[in-house]
Symmetry: C2
Subunit: 297 residues, 2 copies
């Protein structure tokens, strides 16, 4: 199966669940659930759920694991809430995401804040519901992993740092630290959650997969920066060159275009080397790694 097919499978698997996750049935305020659905079901790439699934598969997890499914849904709820809040007028002030009106445009600002809040909460609710035959201790550990990656030392810290450094020069170290929090922490958590869901077989591979997650998190960001310069506005779903226009610090700005491309190449190679050590089971995850550095949107 091509990696495109694998990713499409992962996407449809998680989207089927996301679509059933939030309903307006007997809701006090159905508009809240509609705004949550708007934020969640917006045609995302579903990269984080795919990392959960493929991490789980690499660790010999058996198909049909409720725990892996729960983790995939939960991490996408966190990612989606962060996008809804990032787009707010007080933050990035974006009217469009993937060609569609952002949540505060389609609804209103207060509803978007609350929908984001409720999506974050739902991530933890979904992952904390009891699962027949699974270890509560393991589930607890996965919740702690997800929370640590999402909060004041992870994703939110990165976003706060980013906002407070608009129009300020960053060193390469600062840029790396920012992205390690802003996008890296959740990407690493995704692969970690997949491995954890597989039980003891995943435990042994955890350290290597964490390192892998850190590498592809960084690679993902560099590719994002390169796309902003080299990409096509229509394919990207946002104006090409918007980072430069907003004077955002990027890898190409600090390393030069060629330097950034080389760095991306190195990260890719190191990530693939880690996976190669796991043998044929890593095939799909290697495909995903290739995709991350070669994607056009």
């Amino acid at each position: 199966m091509s990696i495109q097919q694998v990713l499409a499978d992962c996407r449809s698997r998680v989207e089927q669940q996301l679509d059933q996750l939030i309903t307006t049935d007997s809701s006090l305020e159905p508009r809240l659930q509609l705004a949550m659905r708007h934020g969640l079901l917006n045609g995302g790439k579903r990269l984080r759920p795919a990392l959960v699934y493929l991490g789980y598969q690499l660790c010999s997890g058996q198909p049909g694991s409720t725990l892996a499914e729960r983790a995939a849904v939960a991490i996408e709820c966190i990612h989606s809430y962060s996008l809804v809040h990032d787009d707010l007028p007080a933050m990035d002030d974006d009217d469009l995401r993937r060609g569609q009106p952002t949540c505060h445009i389609a609804f209103d600002e207060a509803t978007a804040i609350l929908a984001g809040d409720a999506l974050q909460c739902l991530a933890f609710e979904h992952l904390s519901a009891p699962i027949e035959g699974e270890s509560p201790a393991l589930q607890l550990r996965m919740l702690a992993t997800l929370a640590r990656a999402s909060g004041e030392r992870g994703m939110v810290a990165g976003q706060a740092f980013d906002l407070s450094h608009v129009d300020k020069p960053l060193t390469l170290e600062q840029l790396k630290a920012m992205h390690a929090c802003k996008t890296g922490a959740l990407i690493t958590a995704a692969i970690e959650l997949g491995a954890l869901a597989a039980g003891p077989a995943g435990e042994d591979k955890l350290e290597a997969l964490r390192r892998y997650g850190d590498l592809i998190g960084l690679a993902f960001q560099i590719q994002d920066d390169l796309l902003d310069i080299e990409g096509d506005t229509e394919t990207l779903g946002k104006p090409q060159g918007s980072d430069l226009a907003q004077n955002k610090p990027t890898y190409p700005a600090l390393l030069g275009l060629e330097g950034a491309r080389q760095q991306l190449q190195q990260l890719h190679q190191e990530a693939v080397d880690i996976l190669a050590a796991f043998g044929p089971a890593a095939e799909d995850l290697i495909g995903l790694t290739d995709y991350i550095v070669s994607r056009d949107h």
Copy 2:
């Protein structure tokens, strides 16, 4: 010990932990942690942690329970994040809370949104960290309880309904349903978390305590409404009459002043009757119940 002393003890117990919970040590963006501390350490009544502690005590929980302490801290993080977000310009647009500048005034709007996000996340992180000698299944159940009360079917739903009904007439049923979500769900969760933390002894009392929580949640809100009419601006820390001025639906507006007072009296009596069935162990919780309907701020 008087209930004032009991509450002061609960307050200092939880505040000692809240004060140590968030530090700027090796933070990527210390301003985020400062804003979180601003939202959390703002002289609140700490009613929800007190309900956790006293619920735990009623269920014969032994002193020194890490689980009860964790629950008290977690629920106050949730409550604090909700206040930080409620105060935002797009929501209630309040500049002052308890006489102090609100988070987005003391910092800025983006930081207040992120500080609220991180406080919510921290609640789940704190309650999901492993505890030596405690049952992970129980901890998981407490996380699910907290999440359910906080999200799209609980606190956030109530806030969304409230915002979308400004200047619209509400029936008594709608007003009750709104407050049952907006403040009631978290108050009931607090007493439930205390009972759960006590283990099997709490399990037996859970249903009665849930009903008790629902009653005092409603009583708390009616007293709030009455204070807005009868209270003193300085004692309240917000302008007296501000609900009326904003045309917010209140119990006195729907039931009349006397009707609201009578309703408060009935709720109080029913709540005390539930507790009385537990004998002398309920003394402090009865004191807290009296306090809720007689407080002047």
